[in-house]
Amino acid sequence: MEKLGLIELHHLKKRFGGDRKTAPVQALDDLSLQVPAGCLYGLLGPNGAGKTTAIRILCTLLEPDGGEVKVAGHDALADPRAVRRLLGYVAQEVAIDKILTGRELLQLQSDLYHLRPSQSAERLEEVISLLAMEEWIDRRCGTYSGGMRRRLDLAAGLLHRPAVLVLDEPTVGLDLESRKAIWQVLRQLRDSGTTIVLSSHYLEEVDALADRLAIIEAGRVLAEGTPQHLKQSLGGDRVTLRVREFSDEEESTRIRALLDVCPGVRQVVANRSQGYSLNLVVDDESVTEAIRSCLREADLPVFSLALSRPSLDDVYLQATGRTLMDAELAVVGQRDVKEERKKQMR
């Protein structure tokens, strides 16, 4: 794979709010990314990490306060139109016109991208069959389910055969079947040479799809690379330990202190969202015996003790100091949905 980035984001900065009514939020804080051509690139991070802001800037919907955006050599800030022609964008909040049929929406899209009438009919058939929409494409969009809307949106993004497809949380809130179907199409597209950038707060989605990924939190890239490389570079094995089904903070702190000095244990982190289970990084599988004896001496029971290779979740934990789920929980209730909607309005 070429190292040269088809998409380059350099030192992006973006701040929202900070007026009389709202506290300032640094959505992007010196974020830099390189996406190689032909790569399926995942942006992984909790809600509010800055993924959507980065994507909106890439798609020329938003101007950064500072930094540079280049797509295939075109400067998105100086020549947004050139970049728009190269990009297909599938937004997080599906914007469809309920009154139009799916086919009419695709037709509108094809005119907005200036497809010629002869091309247009052919392309429409192509994307309709690619996403298996034949049965309902002539019904009004208002009658569609979430999965159908998402497929239609993806089809609209593909209509002009963009070199780069950008998807913001493409499977959020979808049923398993629709999700799998969209994954399959994305893989096919990647295999036929389309560069894909996708944001997600689903670990398994990024793990299953991405050739490369960046872990984003608080508007910064905390780790970057292929999933395999990121996992391997962590080293060691993982142990998930529970002394009882649900523990508490006090007990977990006590056990952490105990295991920190246990030979072969490199790191211990308490996982609050999993009832204070403990995630350990250990040298190898033989260490489990040492852990068991350590607990036996302290007269502690073992509810479960599981050994595994490093997962993407471990990568996340290593990079950010907390699990993705904890990061998600931390922002619940902090976000002002109305304010965010306003932010996205033009």
Binding site: R81, D97, I99, L112, Y113, E126, A132, R161, Q184, K342
Partner: protein
């Protein structure tokens, strides 16, 4: 979903890229078509838009049917007098609402779909609204002219009818520009509807739609003779009277006697000024 789908073939190299003008036309027509599909699938707007002015015409005509002859200068009956007012007010209301679909597109994120597309000119979004409202209000006006004629309130004649269309075009242009400006300046559709409410009827009552200037107290006569609606109503009313509107005095305003040409020039100026005033805002929001 089928397991094996045909993959997208690569983009063929463009032999001759279409001209910029062709692209502007393509995107504008597509956006206009969308507005008309919406209208035809949700015809209540259209039906209400045609029926309402006819009810106005019918009821007001009946209300003042027994007004003493000669009360209204140059008109045989109140319906005769009021027809021009209804035509202008209908077009005005439609144009004032022109920004609402744009506001909804902003609120529901559909505008973003348009903004990530490589539109040749973002003015296409504005142009589509103008085309749509213009044709809609022309359809409404033709309906009113026909029904007014059938009710016995007179016919404008062919040159008169062309003058009606020209006057309405200028007014619709001006008010649509204003409405689109509001659609981008206001935070949401609630505020937009509130503004429309506050502007709509007062402008009607402070114009010569319902009564001539000579009926009004001095201050209201002043207000009515700077009201844009009046500049549209009077030439249309005069053309119903079949005279040479362009050179004839159609409005005896407190400050000057204005001919039809004067009124049209004022409307043209207003449309130009509003368009220029709103443009920077649209540019900022759409770039």
């Amino acid at each position: 979903m089928t397991s094996v789908s045909p993959m997208l073939s690569p983009l063929p190299s463009e032999a001759a890229p279409p001209s910029p003008l062709a692209e502007v036309i393509q995107e504008t027509l597509a956006l206009t078509r969308r507005l008309f599909v919406q209208l035809l699938r949700r015809p209540s707007t259209l039906v209400a838009g045609v029926i309402q002015p006819l009810i106005w015409l019918f009821l007001f005509g009946a209300l003042f049917a027994k007004a003493p002859a000669g009360l209204l200068p140059g008109a045989e009956s109140y319906g005769h007098f009021f027809g021009a007012g209804v035509i202008v007010f209908t077009a005005f209301s439609a144009a004032l609402n022109a920004g609402l679909p744009v506001m909804f597109d902003r609120e529901f994120g559909f505008l973003n779909r348009l903004l990530v597309a490589p539109l040749r000119s973002r003015s296409s979004i504005v142009l589509a609204s103008v085309l749509y409202i213009l044709s809609l209000s022309l359809v409404q006006s033709i309906a009113i002219v026909l029904v007014a004629g059938l009710l016995g309130y007179g016919w404008p004649g062919l040159s008169g009818f062309l003058l009606v269309l020209l006057t309405l075009t200028l007014l619709v242009f001006a008010v649509t520009a204003l409405s689109l400006g509001l659609a981008f300046a206001l935070p949401g559709h609630i505020e937009m509807i509130a503004v429309i409410f506050v502007v709509n009827l007062p402008l009607l009552f402070a114009s010569t739609a319902l009564a001539p200037l000579s009926f009004m107290p001095g201050w209201l006569a002043w207000l009515a003779s700077v009201n844009p609606l009046t500049f549209a109503i009077e030439p249309i009313r005069a053309s119903y009277n079949g005279s040479n509107v362009l050179s004839q005095v159609v409005l005896q305003a407190p400050y000057a006697d204005l001919t039809g040409t004067h009124c049209l020039v004022i409307l043209l100026t207003l449309a130009t000024v509003l368009f220029l005033a709103v443009r920077p805002l649209l540019d900022r929001k759409l770039q």
